[in-house]
């Protein structure tokens, strides 16, 4: 269970990026965080693992208040929070295996990591995860040789090998094509269910969010303005979050092209997608 209590962040420039956000995410729940650019989405998830120091409020992960921890305590707590990034943020000149194993840095000592002598159990787990995301045949390739979708899979494996309790995901599909975006989102959704992870996903693509998350939180100017199921995202709500626009097209798009999303990489489950699509279609066509 991840709890944010009255979480606030003011930058030195005087911008209030977050204004007292309260949010509670039970284990195994995926929350899609939507909102216009500058709404504070990135700041919010970075405040959870204190890549950005919150100015006020608390972040409580399973009864531990992350905001009061010392540097050492914070490092230990960060191990429980896997993070996945917008531009993948793999270390380009390290191999895929090194990138994945870097997820274990919080658990191994300096010399072991420096000499790349990880415990056998870590190496086994790395191979298993790479197999799970379909990349176990290229462990020694350098990260910058991969395509966007492959990079993001490595990013996912790196986050999961931490054996996290929480996933913080910042725009995972922003640089991916529509099809790869869906595959990545589906993979994330499946893994979160498998491992019962509380997850926050920042996402720009409202339609995509509706397909794969079970709860949507709308952020505007650092405040939560919507919190509910994906079906609750009516044009009125979207207008409230983003401002005036014709939202029917955005919502329609989802139901139209779901069908041609085929099970291609062995990870997908087309049946599941259809079910979600149906739910959304019904939700949208309801008055």
């Amino acid at each position: 269970m991840l709890q944010l209590q009255n979480l606030g962040k003011s930058y030195k420039t005087g911008d209030d990026a977050l204004k007292g956000v309260n949010l509670e995410i039970p284990d195994g729940q995926i929350v899609g965080l939507i909102g216009p650019s500058g709404a504070g989405k990135s700041t919010l998830i970075r405040c959870v693992n204190r890549l950005v120091e919150p100015t006020t409020g608390k972040v409580i992960l399973n009864d531990v208040d992350v905001t009061t921890l010392s540097a050492g305590g914070l490092r230990k707590e960060r191990r429980k929070m896997g993070m996945i990034f917008q531009e993948y943020a793999l270390v380009d000149r390290l191999t895929i295996m090194e990138n994945v194993l870097s997820g274990r840095l919080g658990y191994v000592g300096f010399w072991k990591s420096f000499l790349r002598k990880y415990p056998q159990s870590d190496v086994d787990e790395a191979f298993r995860l790479l197999e799970r995301v379909g990349l176990d045949h290229m462990v020694d390739k350098r990260a910058d040789e991969l395509s966007g979708g492959q990079k993001q899979r490595v990013g996912i494996a790196r986050a999961l090998i931490q054996d996290p309790e929480v996933l913080l995901i910042d725009e995972p599909t922003a640089s991916l094509d529509p099809k790869t975006s869906r595959q990545i989102m589906r993979l994330i959704a499946e893994l979160c269910k498998e491992r019962n992870l509380s997850t926050i996903v920042n996402i720009h693509d409202v339609a995509l969010a509706q397909m794969y998350v079970e709860r949507i939180v709308g952020l505007q100017l650092g405040e939560i303005v919507f919190d509910g199921p994906p079906e609750g995202l009516t044009p009125d709500v979207l207008t409230q979050i983003y401002g005036e626009e014709d939202w029917e097209a955005t919502i329609d798009e989802v139901s139209d092209d779901v069908d041609d999303d085929i099970n291609e990489d062995g990870i997908d489950s087309a049946k599941n997608t259809d079910k979600i699509a149906k739910v959304i279609t019904e939700a949208v066509s309801a008055p």
Binding site: R75, M83, A89
Partner: protein
């Protein structure tokens, strides 16, 4: 009916807006240059004599003498190579922690200012000046040259490496930090891979610079082939001097080739 609007003109805006200031500055530079140039006194009689000596020197290159003083030459070259290798290695090893301290995205302010200070001193003093000081302290010989070049290597590598560290990709650094890594692990996994090609490139370049410098430092008594070269000039043995210079050029060319090859490899 459309009326013909007067055609509008456009000119690139000048760098200096004020016309008077613009032309005034230009005039000042021209006048100063002419005045400065003609302040040189040329003794044409001296030049006429000197031409002969210069020609002797150039002619010596067609007939370099490697043999007569070969023992001195080879000893000098070896000394230069020893100075180059040791000063480059020690300089780089000392430069890396200082570079970490000088990167504003890693170091706290006091550390940053301290390390910046070291770099500023190392770069402000020319090698020859440092060498004279070191010879004064340690006496004649290659030790003074080694310390001199190690010192200036620190300034060079630390400054440029710190700049590269400041330009790393921030998300990659954030990603490694978010795994719960310790500080040194973070340096090893997030920073080092990003700056390694630059560090290797700079190091090889520095080998090049240190070898060339080591052949000059002998002129002030800090060891190396420069001492041999100086002696050859003093004795008017231009053929031996030519031999030394040819060897220096050959070694620099080889280093140049090797460094471009390695730099292309590590991208």
């Amino acid at each position: 009916m459309s009326t013909v609007s007067p055609s509008r003109t456009w000119k690139r805006p000048p760098l200096i807006k004020d016309t008077k200031l613009r032309y005034g500055l230009l005039l000042f530079v021209i006048v100063y240059f002419i005045a400065a140039f003609f302040s040189y006194e040329v003794n044409w009689a001296r030049v006429y004599e000197g031409l002969d000596r210069g020609w002797e020197f150039i002619k010596a290159f067609s007939n370099p003498d490697f043999v007569t003083r070969w023992k001195d030459i080879s000893a000098g070259i070896w000394e230069s190579i020893i100075i180059t290798v040791t000063s480059t290695v020690v300089g780089i090893i000392l430069a890396i922690p200082i570079a970490l301290g000088t990167a504003s995205n890693l170091a706290p302010k006091p550390v940053y200012l301290f390390c910046r200070g070291i770099i500023a001193v190392a770069r402000a003093l020319h090698e020859i000046i440092v060498a004279i000081l070191m010879v004064a302290i340690f006496g004649f010989g290659p030790l003074a040259g080694f310390i001199t070049l190690a010192f200036s290597t620190i300034g060079f590598i630390a400054k440029l490496l710190a700049e590269d560290i400041e330009n790393i990709s921030k998300p990659q650094a954030e990603a490694v930090k978010s795994t719960g890594s310790g500080w040194w692990q973070w340096i090893n996994y997030a920073i080092q891979p990003q700056v390694m090609p630059r560090l290797i490139g700079l190091s090889i370049y520095r080998v090049d610079i240190n070898f060339r410098s080591s052949s000059i430092l002998g002129l002030v008594g800090a060891g190396g082939v420069g001492a041999t070269l100086n002696t050859a000039f003093d004795r008017y043995e231009f053929d031996t001097a030519a031999a030394i210079i040819i060897i220096i050029i050959a070694i620099v060319l080889v280093l140049e080739y090797v460094s471009s090859f390695i730099r292309a490899k590590v991208q």
